[in-house]
């Protein structure tokens, strides 16, 4: 039962982030491969700030979210001027820098071994109820993300963002600040990542570079691609599939290393099939990548 709650919690954490990331990836058509950075900032932020004497969970959690937001504003000033595969590669470079930085800055991040969430911030106790409580909070956050993405899509701002995706030059010619909207979208996804990171630290109890490597960023985009962009259902279903496939393989009796590789191969095949034969994903409204070849 505890394991089921753990898997459901992970699903919720990734689903919430995928819902917000869909604003950038789906609605704006920008292939953002750096969500793991904001996710990691939230997780490392809550653990590092939480380890200071006298710190508390609200303070540490707020610090993690603020760090994610500040980083988004800083790098967003550069990234908001980019588009197409330049944006994808620049965000991927950012994910690589972040991963290597947390891996080698051992004094602050604990290096490859990572850091343990301090007891003073969150004492899980030994009951299932603590896990249920976190799951309830995560489920509420997913509900909020669904509500936000649905409301936002129906609002004029949602249509404007779609207009940027379809014709950036035309939108700019109408006096709309494209860069500012991109920056706002990056900030929203970064805050989602920060909140997700805080929840991840509470659920797992340990943060290490493996959870926030470039692969994590790619997985989050893959959840949107597989489930489908531009809807609330798509990212949630996509996150569920990407989280569940490894768990099914875990139960198949294969050895740890082989199962891990087969999981990645299965994920690669699924991603290719979706991209090649169902560009709108399983439940999507929008295709990934609207750019036409010159």
């Amino acid at each position: 039962m505890e394991y089921l709650v753990f898997v459901l919690s992970l699903w919720g954490i990734y689903a919430m982030q995928a819902l917000l990331l869909d604003v950038l990836v789906g609605e704006m058509g920008l292939l953002a491969l750096c969500q793991g950075v904001f996710f990691g900032c939230g997780a490392y932020g809550v653990v590092i700030v939480g380890s200071y004497p006298g710190s508390s969970l609200p303070l540490a959690a707020m610090a993690g979210i603020v760090i994610s937001g500040l980083l988004a504003v800083t790098v967003g000033a550069v990234l908001s001027r980019l588009g197409g595969d330049d944006f994808a590669l620049a965000t991927y470079a950012l994910a690589l820098v972040f991963h290597d930085a947390v891996l080698h800055w051992t004094r602050a991040t604990g290096g490859a071994l990572g850091l343990v969430l301090p007891e003073q911030v969150w004492h899980r106790g030994d009951g299932l109820w603590a896990n249920f409580a976190i799951l309830a909070v995560i489920a509420s956050l997913v509900g909020c993300a669904v509500w936000l993405s649905t409301r936002w899509r129906a609002a004029p701002l949602g249509r404007l963002v779609n207009a940027i995706r379809e014709d950036e030059t035309l939108t700019r010619s109408l006096g709309r600040p494209v860069e500012r909207h991109r920056l706002a979208a990056m900030l929203a996804t970064a805050i989602g990542g920060g909140v997700g990171g805080v929840c991840y630290a509470l659920v797992v109890g340990v943060v290490d570079p493996g959870g926030f490597d470039p692969m994590a960023s790619i997985l989050l985009v893959a959840m949107i691609v597989i489930g489908g962009a531009g809807t609330a259902l798509g990212p949630v279903v996509g996150a569920g599939l990407v989280i569940v496939i490894p768990e099914v393989l875990r139960l198949s009796g294969l050895s740890g290393s082989t199962a891990a590789h087969l999981k990645q191969m299965a994920f690669g095949v699924l991603l290719y099939l979706i991209v090649a034969f169902r560009p709108n994903g399983l439940f999507g409204r929008l295709a990934i990548g609207v750019e036409r070849r010159s």
């Binding site: 590669l89 820098v97 891996l103 991603l271 290719y272 090649a276 010159s294």
Partner: protein, 286 residues
Amino acid sequence: MQLVVNTAIYAAAVLLSALGFRLVYVTGRFFHFAHAITIPLGAYTTWLLMTSFGMPFVLAAGLAALVTGLLGSGLFLGTLAPLLDKGAGPQVLLLASLAIFFVAQHGLAVAFGDDAHAVTGTTAQAFEFFGGRATGTQVATVAVAVACAAAVWATEAYTRAGAQLLAVAEHAELSRVFGIDVRRVQAIAFAAGSGLGGVLGALIAADQSFAPDMGFQWLLPGVVAVLLGRVWHVGYVVLAACLVAALRTSAIWFLGGAWQNVLIYALLFAYFAAKPTRLAAANPLG
């Protein structure tokens, strides 16, 4: 002096990586992440041919380059060209390429295991250059990189095939209108680019241990060199490869070995910060 020699050897490896990536990038006009797999594929093929069939290194490396080139071209024709035909944009192709990379890299890991392998039996002879030392394989890496750069430059500058490649790179549709078999040119470019990746993999295998996940570690410095070298000019790409290698040496010297890649990745990010233009839409020879 040893630092200069080490920088030259690394610059040669970066140059080989850059030349291979550049060929597939200019003709495909998308970031072909799966190109990274050609490097470990070349290393493992060389190792397999040497250990299972007792081939000498030079023959094994040549065959590895051939196998890698054919596989690279076959993968392009079988998986990515159909998407190009459907009018897929660079982002879709990038995602598809990433998916292929996952399958290939983890397929290699399932086939050969996660442990690092090493090729034995290559020459251990060392050469001395003004006080710096390099092994025979390292000298060969520099020679092969220089020869490949010269060959790519001469092909593009003086041959009909090179002119066709640049024409396809500049405007695929217009090239098709003028009777160039665009798909054939792309397939040859992907074969040559993948073959160069295979050569790099073979040379790395002869010099150090290798593992299935080595691809990105060698591809990304090459990508940085291609971008800093303004993509289209081989001479600038050579200079950019030297710059990347010099920066890596500086990072190791001043910050320690652990930070060598961070600087290269930061440079990649800084490139886009300083030059926010769309590479895919840029006029290649302008």
